[in-house]
Amino acid sequence: MSETRSIRVEALTRVEGEGGLHIRLNGSEIEDVQLSIYEPPRFFEGFLRGRPLEDVPDITARICGICPVAYQMSAVHALESALGVSPGPEIRRLRRLLYCGEWIESHGLHMHLLQAPDFFGAASGIELAARFPKEVNRGLQLKKHGNTLLEVLGGRAIHPVNVAVGGFYKAPSRDQLQDLIPSFEWGLQAAIDATRWVAGFDFPDFEQPCEMVSLQHPDEYPMNEGRVVSVSGLSVDVADYEREFVESHVAHSTALHSLRTADQSSYHVGPLARINLNRDRLCDNAKRIADEIGFETPCFNRFKAIIARGLEVIHAFDEGLAILKDYQPFRPSRLPYSYRNGEGCAATEAPRGLIYHRYRITDDGKIAEAKIVPPTSQNQRQIELDLIQWLPRVMGESDQRTADECERLIRSYDPCISCSTHFLKLTVDRQSDERGPKVSL
């Protein structure tokens, strides 16, 4: 009889937040794979109840220091839907611009400091810089330009202060945005070079078709709005999100897994899903580079998410540049609204995938109920299933090497474990009956 082999990665590295990985093998048989998240719960959905609705963008930003704009955008859209107001084109464009800044800083960070080191056996971006000083420095500068945009438009890069229900507290001056144009012109070219660089990495041959879900807008690359679509043909209004997707609370995983309601199956959100479903809506520069590097879609190779991020950074600089150039200050910077009883939901595209918010509000402007579904909880089950496919390729190696290879796959998702609205303290029980995803809602 084969010996049971247990591999544990107690702390995943180069991911945001805290998680671990437990694998149990019996000979060549994979008995168990658990992506465990031990990020302490912070109960955002609990303490939002009773808060003034104006606080929601500031508070939900604190769910994640890496993608605060994603939380702010989803929150204001959902609340505006509940209030029955719809901001006009000027506010809409500035919100896309803000999101461009976040995509640039978040993708820039992940590409250069978190994922790229995996392709060269480096432990960190800092180590990688010893070998690729020009490329890593270029990545840091790209990221910095994203942060600078967030600082100008949002007040600061981490937890911007300028996002309001109804619009912005203050619209920037024309000069403030014009001043960013040279750095964005540099950034567009640098993003093209960076994408060419990562496209040349040595990728494992690991095409794993799966359900992929993203927003889709009739004529824009998706950020702030759109229908929820999938590679298998799903196309529903965001209002139907909770009918199509369900969260389940499983003991081992520590997070609420999201699954397709119909068949309890897993799915994938993130840049690969977005690009597979929206390639024709990328800007011309990103399309041209995608063609030039031979990026074939649909792409189901998780490791190639780094290329998708590169193409999205090109898009963000390109679209950001256009908005910067055309911008004219406007008033009012935010729409007035009256309190009423209501409910509203919204989905937007965080750098690491679709994020869904729903709020019920009262006629005195308070939050009665909040529901937030971050991207990583949607990806968690898919990551585990991917690992089951990936393990036979790498489990012949030493335990350490096997663990490293698994971590590498997890990292390709850019998991954001700090998005801890749903994450609970892990109790690892190898004999747990709660191994599979069980719906308990």
């Binding site: 702390a11 995943l12 590295t13 180069r14 991911v15 945001e16 937040g17 805290e18 031990y38 302490p40 719960p41 912070r42 109960f43 955002f44 609990g46 303490f47 109840r49 003034p52 606080d55 500031d58 508070i59 604190r62 769910i63 994640c64 220091g65 890496i66 605060p68 800083e105 400091l113 080191p117 432990a123 960190s124 800092i126 180590e127 890593v136 420095n137 840091l140 910095k144 942060n147 007040g155 600061r156 981490i158 937890h159 202060v161 300028n162 203050k170 969260e247 389940s248 609370h249 003991a251 520590t254 910077s333 490293d404 700090s418 801890s420 749903h422 609970l424 303290k425 109790t427 308990s440």
Partner: protein, 299 residues
């Protein structure tokens, strides 16, 4: 120990960052100080601030040995460490133990951000029924093991320095790291955001527009951003040195700000910091007293 403990700083401290040059000039003959970054309940934003030092990051990594920083590096060296940066608050029994280990293996412990220095936004549960939160958020509360409170690190261990902010100012972070590397105490200002607005020439949003603003009682460090963006300060750097919270809250209540507006303003990212906590509890008590004598409170 509470607060950025020197008051001799330059009011413009946010402006003078540790440059790449000064960091790189650290002598290489001696072993480099060993830096560790630990995370507890938090959003990761404060440790991200270190990675957001795009111009200084590579030089900083020359000046100190980044021995333990899981968010940035897979190489996790065991202690002891010369300087531990601690992000996040204590919310689980396991973390209450883990922070003791951090203290044991670290020469200096510097807490960074509102979670670590004041309990963070998650400390709102300290005023609520924990069981309700469990029930509202999780389908299977029995899977969860957490404490009923979120508390700052200094409630659990001796802390050598507290760097405020939600998020922290990355220039201040470099200042603090550099000071400890040089064996000095950091010298950061402790005055209020209100003074920063005066120095910047920002028109007072409270006086001119009647917007409630915590600037007079909030610690400097953010650069007085919110009033620049036409909104009141919401206290994300926590209490300034010797804040006169009573005076400010009385002023707000007397000039038409309702208790129901003031209470959540005080009770947010640094709401559990003692000065803000006391102020919000007082506003709550005043409001309850007013309601009990059936006089309409100022809403």
């Amino acid at each position: 120990m509470k607060g950025n403990s020197s008051n001799s700083g330059n009011p413009q401290q946010g402006q003078h960052s540790a440059s790449a040059g000064t960091l790189a000039a650290s002598p290489r003959s001696r072993p480099r100080p060993r830096l560790a970054v630990f995370k507890f309940a938090s959003c990761d934003g404060c440790q991200l601030s270190l990675l957001d030092c795009e111009d200084e990051l590579l030089a900083a990594a020359e000046a100190v040995e980044i021995a333990y920083f899981p968010e940035a590096s897979s190489r996790m060296e065991p202690g002891p460490y010369d300087l531990a940066l601690v992000e996040g608050s204590i919310t689980t029994p396991h973390d209450a133990q883990r922070i003791q280990e951090v203290r044991r293996c670290s020469r200096f412990v510097v807490t960074i951000g509102a979670c670590a220095t004041a309990g963070g936004i998650q400390s709102l549960k300290n005023w609520a029924h924990h069981e309700d939160y469990l029930k509202w958020v999780y389908a299977r509360p029995e899977f969860i093991s957490t404490l009923a409170t979120s508390t700052p690190i200094a409630d659990h261990i001796r802390v050598d320095y507290e760097l405020r902010g939600c998020p922290i100012n990355r220039h201040q972070l470099l200042e603090v790291i550099l000071a400890f590397v040089r064996g000095q105490r950091p010298k950061l200002a402790t005055h209020s955001v209100c003074l920063d607005c005066k120095l910047k020439g920002t028109v007072c949003v409270e006086v001119a527009q009647g917007i409630p603003c915590l600037g007079p009682i909030t610690h400097t460090g953010c650069g007085a951003i919110c009033p620049t963006y036409d909104r009141g300060c919401y206290g994300c750097f926590g209490p300034a040195a010797q804040p006169n919270c009573r005076s400010l809250t009385d002023h707000c209540l007397q000039t038409g700000t309702s208790a129901s507006t003031l209470l959540p303003l005080l009770r947010n990212f640094n709401g559990y910091a003692p000065e803000f906590r006391e102020a919000s509890n007082r506003v709550e008590a005043l409001s309850a007293a007013a309601a009990s004598v059936k006089e309409p409170i100022d809403e």
